[in-house]
């Protein structure tokens, strides 16, 4: 039996999520099948509506006018983030799909498997990005992330292309975000994405975390070098808020020492540190 790696499963989900962005406008435009509308800012699958938490929060904060369907549509993504953490980013987000696709293409073309991170900043910048974004929207009186969010822009570009045969100018942001990947892996996701920060904040007390079993760990740090977010799962950073549960480190561990932990665990600081 072929054992499916987490990264392959994840890439399959990412591909499906991305093709949904392309298939939904095509169905709407050519066949008038309106079963699925929208993209990852708000997607409606039949009567099941989902609104991205940060965009919904911005709209609520700016207008201070709660709207029933908006609140109901926020329940599912917020619950997902509370239980599983920042999985939208690693398993669904089209920006992650594009980054991963470019990485896979690069691996096919060149022999170097890993590229070092050139710019490593403080991870806490993520929270400042979220704070600044909310502050700016409140000052301007209009939400900003709703029209500048790269994950949403991918959907808007695809939809605009299918419907109007044009690509809106904002699409340059996507290219810019992908170019930032040259500085270090997922530079935008690591340090700048307000949506990612908000989902990470929601998932701070999530149940599913990457745990180092520590029975047979050789301390080779292969997992640390593989992490797209620049974390060190070998010393338990898979338990921190910054981990997005992508499972890359689990695939890369030759000794099977990392796994998704579903049970409640004690804070890592009380665990023995590998000699």
């Amino acid at each position: 039996m072929i054992r499916w790696k987490w990264s392959n499963k994840r890439f399959l989900v990412l591909t499906g999520a991305f093709s949904l962005l392309l298939v939904a406008p095509l169905l709407n435009f050519y066949y008038d099948i309106n079963f699925i509308q929208g993209w990852y800012q708000s997607i409606g699958i039949g009567d099941f509506w989902i609104v991205s938490p940060l965009e919904g929060l911005e709209s609520l904060l700016v207008t201070r006018d709660p709207f029933g369907p908006l609140l109901t549509a926020l329940i599912f993504p917020v619950l997902l983030a509370l239980v599983l953490g920042r999985v939208f980013c690693s398993w669904i987000c089209p920006i992650t799909f594009l980054s991963e696709l470019s990485e896979r293409l690069k691996q096919l073309l060149s022999k170097r498997t890993t590229t070092p991170d050139r710019w490593v900043l403080f991870r806490q910048i993520l929270w400042f990005a979220l704070g600044l974004e909310l502050f700016l929207s409140l000052v301007l009186g209009a939400p900003i992330f709703v029209f500048l969010s790269p994950p949403g822009l991918v959907g808007r570009e695809l939809m605009s292309f299918v419907f109007f045969r044009t690509l809106p100018l904002e699409g340059l942001i996507i290219i810019f975000v992908l170019i930032l990947n040259l500085l270090s892996k997922r530079f935008y996701c690591r340090y700048l994405c307000p949506l990612g920060a908000f989902l990470a904040l929601l998932g701070a007390r999530r149940r599913v975390r990457v745990k180092n079993i520590m029975q047979n760990c050789k301390g080779c740090r292969t997992c640390d070098h593989s992490c797209p977010m620049g974390l060190s799962p070998s010393v338990g950073e898979g338990m921190t808020v910054y981990c997005w549960n992508c499972g890359t480190c689990i695939d890369n561990c030759s000794y099977g020492q990392l796994e998704f932990n579903l049970k409640k665990v004690e804070p890592y600081s009380s665990m023995p540190i590998q000699k």
Binding site: G38, S52, E170
Partner: protein, 207 residues
């Protein structure tokens, strides 16, 4: 190595300048960033909230665009500043046929579910100088707008062989504007839809 680093730095600088040029409008355009993009014949979809609430309410998910069977709802781009990504109907290109599909998919209440006859996207205004039925020296009688109006005999009535718009019933759907035979070469459409919320001013507090 130093050469390479310098060229990369130049490339990055160039990139920053180019993105800056595209992302930020020039100073003269800055004023329009926060103003409403609405004007004559350029309207919000049905059921839209007051225009000064609209950019805050709308989360730019584009679902109204995708459900519109006539493809008349379009999206604005970043050149419209804070209104970037909000839906708009250019009725000269394609009017709203009041199918009321978009109002039922809006997740944030920027478009509120309403009935066809309650829709107030704008108000059709007849230009008496260009309309052939209204021109004083004209012997022609055209009643295209009357014929196409979905609320014929209530929203547009024919009185003394001339079309009259009743502001109590006009939904502002723009079918009349789209059908009007007068075109741009003849001085613009003879019936235009004025957006209701674009020019209205909030009542000032009593002194």
């Amino acid at each position: 190595m130093a050469e390479k680093g310098r060229s990369r730095r130049t490339a990055l600088k160039l990139l920053a300048v180019v993105t800056g040029f595209f992302c930020f409008p020039t100073v003269s355009q800055a004023k329009t960033l926060a103003t409403s993009p609405l004007r004559d014949n350029l309207l919000r979809p049905p059921g839209a909230v007051m225009e000064h609430h609209y950019p805050g309410k709308c989360i730019r998910c584009g679902r109204c665009v995708e459900v519109c069977p006539y493809h008349c709802v379009e999206l604005l781009d970043i050149r419209h500043g804070l209104s970037a990504g909000t839906p708009i109907i250019d009725i000269e290109k394609s009017p709203c046929f009041l199918c009321m599909k978009c109002v039922h998919v809006c997740p944030t209440g920027a478009l509120l579910p309403i009935e066809q006859h309650e829709t107030r996207m704008g108000l059709a205004v007849i230009d008496h100088h260009t309309c052939v039925s209204w021109k004083p020296d004209s012997l022609l009688m055209c009643k295209t707008c009357y014929n196409v109006c979905p609320f014929r005999d209530t929203a547009i009535r024919m009185e003394e062989f001339r079309p009259h718009v009743d502001e109590r019933y006009c939904t502002g759907c723009g079918i009349c504007t789209n059908a009007c035979l007068i075109n741009r070469d003849q001085g613009g459409k003879a019936i235009n839809v004025k957006p209701i919320y674009a020019t209205i001013k909030l009542p000032e507090a009593p002194q």
